[in-house]
């Protein structure tokens, strides 16, 4: 039966720097397998939508503009994503990867988390929404 069994630890710690990492002034190296923000490379996408079917948080939506011409836009909601990486493995064409440095994801407004991936024109097309009813050609009277 001893008394004060932790005295050895206590004595060593008194002369050492604390182990606390003083974030944000000190930053450790991020491990390369860290599952951070999603990145989509649409070159090989076939529009099968398996990634959005398998996403447990319904964070991905692949919007098909034209399947034959391979025009797709991915709508990714980062605030719903749980960073599980299931989409990475569900995709049969290696389109998705998780960025290991994308882990400081704070923003001041909600719209920063709605991310669209694709070509510029495609994204504009998707964001413009469906055409308004009276923009169609007027019906000949």
């Amino acid at each position: 039966m001893k008394l004060a069994t932790m005295i050895g630890d206590v004595r060593t710690s008194f002369f050492r720097k604390p182990v606390t990492q003083r974030y944000p002034f000190e930053r450790r190296e991020t491990p390369e397998r860290l599952r951070g923000l999603l990145n989509w490379n649409g070159e090989n996408c076939s529009g099968c939508n398996i990634c959005s079917m398998d996403c447990p948080a319904k964070a991905i939506e692949v919007i098909v503009i034209d399947k034959k011409a391979k025009r797709f836009v991915m709508h990714y909601q980062a605030d719903r994503c749980t960073f599980c990486a299931q989409c990475v493995f569900s995709c049969n064409h290696d389109c998705i990867s998780l960025d290991s440095n994308g882990w400081e994801l704070a923003a001041l407004a909600r719209n920063a988390f709605a991310i669209y991936y694709g070509t510029e024109d495609d994204i504009k097309y998707v964001l413009a929404g469906p055409p308004a009813p009276d923009a169609e050609a007027p019906v000949e009277g």
């Binding site: 008394l3 069994t5 630890d9 491990p31 397998r33 860290l34 960073f83 990486a85 299931q86 493995f89």
Partner: protein
């Protein structure tokens, strides 16, 4: 004002909000001075309807839902589920994947037991041990982050395999970390079994005899500390445990100190297992082909979570969504022991008894009470349930 009578008994509530509990659970202890004379428990504060939610998601999405039943034992829930679904589909994961699965499971066990040592020390008032054991737990969290990509909710399981591979560099990091942790664990074993003031809080407290443990159905380290040899990895090895056998660790002490010792010795066993798995990792692929629609059937899987035996029942009906998933977590088996043991102890011993079973309230949110006297049947329709609820709450306003 309060009136004091000769045999006044207080009811000291511990929970649902209390600094001793990390998660909500409602205990009521009848206290006479400082001695407990009666105890009751109510659970269900962390009920989230997960079992119902699994029915609206496909098998793949459910892995991640079920992983989030508990933060500390998340990987073992996913493993149990994936083993059950693989049984249903008739697919077996390749040997390398199975080995990596149990590697992560053992790393998780190490993390969970180190966490528990800290929390139990904090409940005893020994904050220094709490700080140091959690500092050392950071080593295992960093290992897991480097291996799997996240510190909690590792998400390594896929239907039919695993996501991550172990290369030489990973192996080196893990082995170095384990070496450091083994040194520290030896020191903690010394502290726990020899520190005079800590032993005053743990030795002879919460004696849970072998008969009581067997009758009340205790599982996990709580049972093993009372000399009941129950460990699913030994009795019914699953996955790669057939190739990497585990030694059963029991203690005869039956008190809180024995539970400490059992968990620390399990840490040593886990270190040995991790080394063995890393050195003898079989070659091969990481995943097997898995159908999207599972043929109808029922499957059961039992695994050894850090807290005891975890039981999953999965029923499929031919579509890509399960028909029913039932989870039975180990804490619910051990909870009755707390209520029984607390009687006769001092109030100050009650947090130690409670923490001795390693309670995980988020896991055990499935409490079903069946009222035989009123109905005589074991299943109710929605209408009956609704009527009963109205009667219950009106009667208790």
């Amino acid at each position: 004002m309060m009136e004091k009578t000769a045999n006044e008994q207080f009811t000291v509530p511990i929970g649902p909000q209390h600094p001793a509990l990390k998660e909500p659970g409602s205990f009521r202890f009848n206290v006479d001075g400082e001695v407990v004379t009666g105890a009751t428990v109510r659970l269900g504060y962390a009920h989230r309807g997960i079992e119902k939610a699994t029915e609206g998601r496909n098998f793949v999405q459910n892995i991640y839902l079920l992983e989030r039943i508990c933060g500390i034992c998340s990987d073992i829930h996913a493993t149990a589920y994936v083993l059950a679904v693989e049984q249903l589909a008739g697919v077996e994961a390749p040997p390398r994947a199975q080995a990596i699965r149990i590697l992560v499971a053992e790393l998780e066990r190490i993390h969970s037991h180190l966490l528990w040592v800290g929390v139990a020390a904090h409940e005893a008032g020994f904050d220094t041990l709490f700080m140091y054991s959690w500092r050392d737990r950071e080593t295992i969290m960093d290992i897991l982050e480097g291996l799997t990509g996240n510190r909690v909710n590792y998400s390594v399981n896929l239907l039919g395999g695993v996501k991550v591979d172990v290369d030489e560099q990973q192996k080196d990091t893990i082995l170095k970390g384990i070496e450091f942790l083994e040194e520290r664990t030896k020191h903690y074993l010394d502290v726990i079994t020899k520190d005079a003031m800590f032993l005053q809080r743990t030795r002879g407290v919460g004696i849970f005899t072998r008969t009581q443990a067997e009758v009340l159905g205790a599982v996990g380290p709580t049972a093993r500390a009372s000399d009941v040899a129950r460990d699913v990895r030994v009795e019914a090895p699953y996955g790669a445990y057939k190739d990497f056998p585990v030694n059963m660790i029991t203690e005869k002490g039956c008190d809180v100190e024995a539970r400490f010792v059992v968990r620390i010795r399990e840490l040593f066993e886990s270190y040995r297992l991790v080394r063995e798995i890393l050195n003898k990792l079989p070659e091969g692929e990481l995943t097997a082909r898995f159908p999207r629609r599972i043929k109808p059937g029922e499957a059961i899987s039992r695994v050894e979570a850090p807290r005891g035996e975890l039981f999953y029942f999965v029923k499929s009906n031919g579509t890509d969504k399960p028909e029913r998933v039932k989870v039975r977590t180990p804490t619910i088996c051990n909870m009755t022991s707390v209520v029984k043991l607390a009687v006769g102890h001092q109030l100050a011993d009650v947090p130690m008894i409670l923490v001795g079973i390693d309670p995980c309230f988020s896991c055990n949110d499935r409490a079903v009470s069946i009222d035989h006297h009123q109905h005589g049947r074991e299943d109710w329709s929605m209408e009956e349930l609704r009527e009963y609820g109205i009667r219950f709450y009106h009667g208790h306003t």
